[in-house]
C-alpha cells in the first residue's frame, strides 16, 4: 500500500525525526556499541540475589521483670508499652507476648517504610518513656530487625572426622579463628557459629557431701568470688622518682587453683572445694543448642547417609545492596584456603546453603531463557520477513535489554528473579516496536512506486508512518504497568521490579526501533532492483531474497524466503 505520490514526505512524528537524525550519523554505530557495552558492564557487576529485597522494618522490645506472672507482665509491661508504640507513625501491627518474668513487644512497620527511620522512631519512643518504666524491671532491650544482616547467604557445616585429635574446646577455638578471618572479607556483615561451645570450668557440687560437711552453696560462691579477681598493675615510686610496678595476678589460673579453694573449716581441718565438688575443665554444659549433621559422602546418591555427627554451622550474611554471588565466592575461597590446615587437624566442612550460587543459577537460567527466546523469535522472523530483517530485530533486543539493565544498575536495583521476570515479560513486547517498524519498511520496499524514492527518505517515511500508533500503543502498555508500582504490602514490594523495569524497557524499545531500525535497514536492506520480476528463478542477480520481487501479499514472500533457507 503506502503512498504513491512522489511529493516529499512531511515528518509528523518523533519517530521520523529520530530516524532522520540518526540515519546517516556516523555516531549511531558508536552509540549502539556503547549501549551494548554498558549493558555488559551492568550484567557482570550488578548485585545478584535470588529474591528481591523487601523493606521489612520492625523491631522487638524485651523487658525482664523477674518473678512476674504473665498476667502481671501483661498489665505492667505489655499494655503500657503497646499503647505508647501505637503512637508511632508507620507501625502496622503491634504484637506482644507476656510470659513468666518476660514481656516482649514486637512491632511491624508497613512494608516499604524506611528502615533507619523506623528504627530511630522505635528507640526514640522507648527512650522518651523510660520514666514510665515500672519498678523492678531490668533495662529494656530494643532490637530492630535487620533482614540483610539477619538472613545469612551462606552456611557451612564444620565437623571433626574420626582421626581428629582436637578436643571440643580446641575445635571450637579453631572455628572462632576462622570466623574472625571471614569477618575481614569485604561486604561480609555478620558471622555466627551455631552450635558452638565455650570453654568453661565446671564445678559440680555433690549435694550429699554438701550436707555432710554442713556447707551451703552460698559459701562456695563467696569463697570463689573472693579469689577470681583481676586487678590492674599498681604503681609505686622510688626515692629517685622511678616507677616500680606491682602486678597482682588472678589467683585462679588452672583447675588446680579452683580445686584448692578453701571453702570452710570443718572441725578445725580445712575443707577444700575438691572435697565437695568435682572440677572439670570442660564446655558450657548448660548450653543445649547443639547442631548435628547427617550427610551423604561425596554427594553420591548411591551411598548411604552418614550417622548423626555433631557439627557447628558457620553462617555468614552480607551487607545490603552487595552482590551475594561475590560474597559467597570470597567466603568459600577463604575456607578452601584453610583446607590443608583443617586436614592436618581433622576438621572437615560441607556447604549447606549458598544463596549466591542459587542467585547465580536463577539468573543464569533466566538469561538462558532470554537467549533461547531471542533465537526462536529471530528464526521466526527469518521465515516471515527475511534474514536481514530478522537480524535487525534481533539486534534490537540486546540493545533494549542493555539500556534497561544499565538504568536498573545505576538506580541501585539488584538482579533477582523478579527483575528477570520483568525482562521475560517485556521480551514479547520489546520486539513489537522493531517488528512493526521493520514490517512497514519491508512493505514500503515492496510497494509500487518504490523506484522513484530515495532509500533514506523511504526508510524515514516508513518509520514515521507507524510512529503515531506505535507510540500510543507502547504508552498504553506502559500505563498498564505503572499502577503496579502503587500496589502495597509484601506482594507489591516483591513485584516492584516489574513496574520499575518494564516501562523503561518499553520506552527503550521505542527509541531503539526508531533509531537503529532505519539505520540498520539502510546498511542491510536494498530496494528491490526488479520490482516487476515476480519469479525467483528468473532473478538475475540472486543477491537477496528481498530483491527477488515485490509482492503485495506476504504469503508469497514467505515462500521465497523458505526456498532460500532450503
Amino acid at each position: 500500500m503506502g503512498k504513491t505520490t512522489t511529493e516529499p514526505y512531511v515528518i509528523k512524528d518523533v519517530a521520523g525525526k529520530l530516524g532522520q537524525g540518526f540515519l546517516r550519523n556516523p555516531l549511531t554505530a558508536v552509540l549502539g556499541i556503547v549501549i551494548l557495552a554498558l549493558g555488559w558492564i551492568a550484567l557482570s557487576t550488578m548485585p545478584r540475589e535470588e529474591d528481591p529485597q523487601i523493606a521489612i522494618s520492625g523491631g522487638g522490645i524485651m523487658v525482664v521483670m523477674p518473678g512476674a506472672t504473665p498476667l502481671e507482665i501483661e498489665n505492667i509491661i505489655s499494655k503500657p508499652l503497646e499503647k505508647k508504640l501505637r503512637e508511632v507513625q508507620g507501625i502496622q501491627h503491634v504484637y506482644s507476648t507476656s510470659m513468666d518474668s518476660v514481656g516482649i513487644v514486637n512491632v511491624m512497620y508497613y512494608i516499604g517504610e524506611n528502615r533507619e527511620d523506623s528504627n530511630l522512631k522505635l528507640y526514640d519512643k522507648i527512650m522518651q518513656n523510660m520514666d514510665m518504666m515500672p519498678e523492678g524491671v531490668h533495662q529494656p532491650l530494643v532490637k530492630p530487625f535487620d533482614i540483610d544482616i539477619d538472613v545469612p547467604i551462606i552456611t557451612v557445616a564444620l565437623y571433626q572426622n574420626e582421626s581428629s585429635r582436637l578436643s571440643l574446646v580446641e575445635f571450637n577455638e579453631e572455628l572462632r579463628k576462622l570466623k574472625h578471618k571471614i569477618n575481614g572479607i569485604d561486604n561480609v556483615a555478620k558471622t555466627t557459629l551455631h552450635g558452638s561451645h565455650k570453654e568453661q570450668f565446671n564445678i559440680e557440687v555433690d549435694v550429699n557431701k554438701l550436707s555432710a560437711y554442713h556447707l551451703s552453696m552460698g559459701q562456695i560462691v563467696t569463697a570463689l568470688k573472693q579469689l577470681a579477681v583481676n586487678v590492674p598493675d599498681i604503681k609505686g615510686r622510688t626515692k629517685g622518682n622511678k616507677l616500680v610496678f606491682f602486678g597482682v595476678s588472678n589467683a585462679i589460673t588452672s583447675i588446680k587453683d579452683i580445686e584448692g579453694v578453701r571453702v570452710t573449716s570443718y572441725r578445725d581441718s580445712p575443707v577444700y572445694l575438691r572435697d565437695v565438688a568435682q572440677v572439670v575443665q570442660g564446655i558450657d554444659k548448660q548450653n543445649f543448642q547443639d547442631v548435628e549433621l547427617i550427610f551423604r559422602p561425596n554427594n553420591d546418591t548411591s551411598q548411604a547417609l552418614s550417622k548423626n555427627i555433631s557439627q557447628v554451622t558457620l553462617s555468614v550474611s552480607k551487607l545490603a545492596g552487595t552482590n551475594a554471588v561475590f560474597v559467597a565466592q570470597d567466603v568459600m575461597k577463604l575456607i578452601e584456603e584453610q583446607k590443608p590446615h583443617f586436614e592436618k587437624l581433622g576438621i572437615e566442612y560441607r556447604k549447606t546453603r549458598d544463596y549466591g550460587e542459587r542467585a547465580n543459577a536463577a539468573v543464569d537460567e533466566l538469561m538462558h531463557h532470554l537467549v533461547i527466546t531471542i533465537i526462536i523469535i529471530a528464526i521466526m522472523l527469518v521465515f516471515a520477513l527475511g534474514w536481514r530483517e530478522s537480524l535487525i530485530v534481533t539486534f534490537s533486543v540486546p540493545a533494549i535489554l542493555a539500556i534497561t539493565l544499565f538504568i536498573a544498575y545505576i538506580t541501585g536495583q539488584t538482579m533477582n528473579r523478579i527483575t528477570l521476570f520483568a525482562f521475560l515479560l517485556s521480551l514479547g513486547l520489546l520486539v513489537d516496536a522493531a517488528i512493526i517498524v521493520i514490517e512497514n519498511i519491508h512493505r514500503h520496499l515492496h510497494s509500487p512506486g518504490v523506484e522513484d524514492k530515495e532509500m533514506g527518505a523511504l526508510l524515514v517515511e516508513a518509520t514515521d508512518e507507524v510512529g503515531g500508533p506505535t507510540n500510543i500503543a507502547t504508552l498504553a502498555i506502559i500505563m498498564t504497568m505503572v499502577p503496579m508500582a502503587f500496589v502495597g504490602g509484601m506482594m507489591g514490594s516483591f513485584m516492584k521490579p516489574i513496574p520499575y523495569n518494564v516501562p523503561v524497557a518499553l520506552f527503550a524499545s521505542l527509541i531503539v526501533a526508531y533509531i537503529f531500525t532505519p539505520y540498520l535497514s539502510l546498511k542491510l536492506l536494498k530496494k528491490p532492483e526488479h520490482p516487476e520480476n515476480n519469479d525467483l528463478e528468473h532473478n538475475p542477480y540472486g543477491i537477496c531474497e528481498i530483491c527477488s520481487g515485490s509482492h503485495h501479499t506476504h504469503e508469497h514472500h514467505e515462500n521465497t524466503a523458505t526456498k532460500e533457507e532450503k
Binding site: Y95, M217, T480
Partner: protein, 602 residues
C-alpha cells in the same frame, strides 16, 4: 491475506453476521467467567516451586526436655534417612536454623527453649530429580507425623517450604481474639479441630503454650525473717543448685573468649527420682542456707511446696488478646479449604454463639461470635497468606482499573473520540477469555493443578496493552484509508484488517514464543499461559470483533462526514433527558430539604 480481507468484508456486509460475532464473543466471555464458580480454574496467589531445600520444625509440648525433643527429631531423621534424594540434613536443637525467608516471619529467631528443634534438609539439584520438593513433602508428611508425633504426645511436626513469593506466618492463620483467656483457648482448640478435619489442611498448630504442671515454692515470710535469711537467698540457692550459674570469669591469653567458672550441683546428684512431690521435697531438704549468724537452715524449713499449673503466655495483637491457630495446605490453593472450614465453623459455633460475618473488605472472611448466654464476644480473623492474597488481588485489581482509565484517557486524547477508545478497551478486555480458557486447558494437560496466580493477573494486565496496540494499529490504518484515500468504510476496514494482520500475527507469535519457556516455570507459568492464550484471543478479537465494532461507529469517518442524525443522537438525547430529569429531581430534593430545615429552625 486476500482471503482474510474478503472474509471480513463478508462479515461486515451483513448486519446479522455482525450481530452473531458480537453475540458469540459475549457468550464466550461469560462462559469463560463461569469457569471460576464451576471450579474449572482455581485461584492461588503463588504456586509452590520445586526447591533444593526445605525445613522441618519440631515442637514438643512446652516444658519438654531436650532429650524428649531429641527423641522426636531422631525419629524424623530416621525416616528421612531412607530418602535417596537427600544430600544432607542439619538438625538444630533448641534454636532455629540459620534464618531464611520462611523463618523470618515464623519466629525462628525467637526459638531458644528445649522443646524446639529445626531440621534443614538439602536435596539433589532440581534438574537431576524427578520428584518436586513439594511432592516429596506431601508424601513424607503423613508418614513422619504418624510415626513421630506420638512419641511425645502433643508434639507438632511442621514442614516448611521456601515461599515462592513473600513469606507469611502460614498459609492459613486464624486469629482467635477474645478477652477471656480460658474460653479463648477452648475456642482455639475447637477451631484447630475443625481445621484438622478439613480436607487438604495439614500442619495444624495452636500457637499457644501448653499448660503443664509445675511446683511452686512459696516462701514463708515469717520463718524467713526469723531465721534471718532473705528471699533473694532462697531464689539464688535454688537457681544455683538446679540451673547452675556463672559465678566468675577468667581471662586467657590464648583463648578468644573469657573462661567462665560455672557452679552447680553435679548432674548425678541433682537428678530427681521422679516428678513426685516427695522426690522434690527430699532433694530440697539436702539444700541448706547459711544465715547471718552462720547457722545452717534447710531450705524446706522456710518454704512450702505446692503443685500448680503453669501460666501460659498471653499474646496480643494490636492491643487485643488473641491466639493464633495456623495451618498449611497440601499443594492446593488455600481459598477452598478456607471456605470449607469457615462454613463448618459457622455451622458448629451457631448453637453456642451468635455468629455474624464481617462486611466486605480484605478481612471479609472474619467471623464475629457472641456467646448466647454470657454475651462475651470473640472474633475469628483470617490472616496469613489468604490476607496477603486478598490484599494483592485487591491492589492488582485497583491497578488494573487505574490502567484501564489511563489507557482510556490516552486513547481519547489521541483519537478525540470516546466510541473508538471504548472499542479498543472493550476489545482488549476480552483477552480475558483467552486467559481463563488457557488456564483451564493448562490444568487439563498438566498432572498437578494449574492455578490462576498473581503472575497470571500481571500477564493479563500486560495483555491489555498488547491487544489495545493491535486495535490501535488497525484503526489508525483504516482511518488513514478512509480519510486520505476516501475509501468506502467497510472496504477500508476489511483491507486494514488484512494488511495489519501481518504485524499483528508477527508480534503475537513473538509473544507466544517468548512466553513459551515461561509456561513451564512453576511460578511464572501462570504469566506464560496468560500471555500465550490471551494473545491468541487478542488476535481473534482484534481481527474479527474490533472490525465489526469499528464498522458500527461513526467516529471512523472523516471530519467532514455528516452524521446520519438517527441513532447516536437518539441515544444521547434520551441519555440527556434522563440526566436532566435526574438532576432536576436532585435539585428539587435538595431545595425541598433546605426549605424544610429552614422551617424547622423557625
Amino acid at each position: 491475506m486476500q482471503r482474510l480481507e474478503s472474509f471480513i468484508y463478508w462479515i461486515l456486509k451483513s448486519e446479522f453476521r455482525k450481530k452473531m460475532v458480537i453475540l458469540l464473543t459475549i457468550a464466550a466471555f461469560f462462559a469463560s467467567l463461569l469457569m471460576f464458580p464451576l471450579g474449572g480454574v482455581l485461584a492461588r496467589m503463588l504456586p509452590g516451586k520445586s526447591a533444593t531445600t526445605y525445613s522441618i520444625y519440631v515442637d514438643t509440648p512446652t516444658g519438654s526436655s531436650i532429650q524428649q525433643t531429641k527423641k522426636v527429631t531422631g525419629c524424623v531423621s530416621n525416616i528421612l534417612r531412607d530418602e535417596e534424594e537427600i544430600l544432607d540434613i542439619s538438625i538444630f536443637y533448641a534454636q532455629g536454623i540459620p534464618l531464611d525467608y520462611a523463618g523470618l516471619v515464623k519466629g525462628s529467631l525467637m526459638k531458644r527453649t528445649e522443646n524446639v528443634a529445626e531440621i534443614s534438609v538439602n536435596l539433589t539439584p532440581t534438574s537431576a530429580r524427578e520428584e518436586a520438593s513439594f511432592l516429596m513433602i506431601s508424601r513424607l508428611r503423613p508418614v513422619i507425623q504418624e510415626t513421630c508425633q506420638n512419641l511425645i504426645p502433643g508434639s507438632v511436626i511442621k514442614f516448611v517450604e521456601q515461599p515462592s513469593g513473600p513469606p507469611t506466618l502460614a498459609q492459613i492463620v486464624v486469629e482467635v481474639h477474645g478477652e477471656n483467656i480460658p474460653r479463648t483457648r477452648k475456642l482455639a482448640v475447637e477451631v484447630a479441630d475443625i481445621l484438622t478435619n478439613t480436607k487438604d489442611l495439614v500442619d495444624i498448630d495452636i500457637m499457644a503454650d501448653d499448660i503443664y504442671e509445675k511446683y511452686q515454692l512459696i516462701p514463708n515470710i515469717e520463718k524467713i525473717a526469723l531465721a534471718k535469711l532473705s528471699i533473694e537467698q532462697v531464689n539464688n540457692i535454688l537457681y544455683l543448685a538446679f540451673e547452675g550459674m556463672v559465678i566468675a570469669t577468667k581471662n586467657s591469653e590464648n583463648r578468644s573468649l573469657q573462661i567462665p567458672i560455672f557452679l552447680g550441683l553435679s548432674d548425678k546428684t541433682k537428678r530427681l527420682k521422679d516428678d513426685s512431690y516427695n522426690a522434690i521435697r527430699s532433694k530440697l531438704t539436702s539444700l541448706t542456707l547459711m544465715n547471718q549468724q552462720g547457722l545452717m537452715i534447710p531450705l524446706t524449713e522456710v518454704v512450702k511446696i505446692i503443685k500448680v499449673n503453669s501460666h501460659p503466655t498471653i499474646m496480643h495483637k494490636d492491643l487485643k488478646r488473641m491466639i493464633n491457630v495456623i495451618a498449611e495446605t497440601d499443594n492446593v490453593s488455600q481459598v477452598y479449604p478456607l471456605l470449607e472450614a469457615r462454613a463448618t465453623m459457622e455451622e458448629k459455633f451457631s448453637d453456642k454463639y451468635i455468629v455474624s460475618s464481617a462486611p466486605i473488605s480484605t478481612y471479609m472472611f472474619d467471623l464475629e461470635l457472641e456467646h448466647k448466654r454470657t454475651g462475651e464476644k470473640f472474633l475469628l480473623r483470617w490472616d496469613g497468606e489468604m490476607k496477603v492474597t486478598l490484599d494483592t488481588f485487591r491492589d492488582l485489581g485497583a491497578a488494573f482499573i487505574a490502567a484501564l482509565v489511563l489507557i482510556f484517557f490516552l486513547l481519547v486524547i489521541y483519537y478525540k473520540s470516546f466510541a473508538l477508545s471504548a472499542i479498543i478497551l472493550g476489545g482488549s478486555f476480552l483477552s480475558l477469555i483467552g486467559v481463563i480458557i488457557g488456564h483451564w486447558v493448562a490444568d487439563l494437560v498438566t498432572t498437578q493443578t494449574f492455578f490462576l496466580t498473581a503472575t497470571s493477573l500481571i500477564g493479563f494486565i500486560a495483555l491489555m496493552g498488547i491487544s489495545s496496540r493491535n486495535s490501535l494499529l488497525l484503526i489508525d490504518y483504516a482511518m488513514g484509508l478512509i480519510k486520505d484515500q476516501g475509501m468506502e468504510r467497510k472496504r477500508a476496514i476489511a483491507l486494514a484488517s488484512a494488511t495489519r494482520a501481518i504485524p499483528i500475527f508477527l508480534t503475537a507469535v513473538a509473544i507466544i514464543l517468548g512466553s513459551a519457556l515461561l509456561a513451564g516455570d512453576p511460578i511464572f507459568g501462570g504469566l506464560g499461559v496468560a500471555l500465550i492464550s490471551g494473545t491468541v484471543a487478542a488476535v481473534f478479537v482484534s481481527l474479527l470483533f474490533v472490525p465489526v465494532l469499528m464498522d458500527n461507529t461513526d467516529a471512523m469517518m472523516p471530519d467532514d462526514f455528516v452524521k446520519p442524525p438517527k441513532e447516536p443522537s437518539k441515544f444521547f438525547a434520551s441519555l440527556g433527558t434522563m440526566l436532566d430529569s435526574i438532576i432536576s429531581k436532585i435539585k428539587n430534593f435538595v431545595l425541598g430539604y433546605l426549605e424544610k430545615k429552614k422551617e424547622d429552625k423557625k
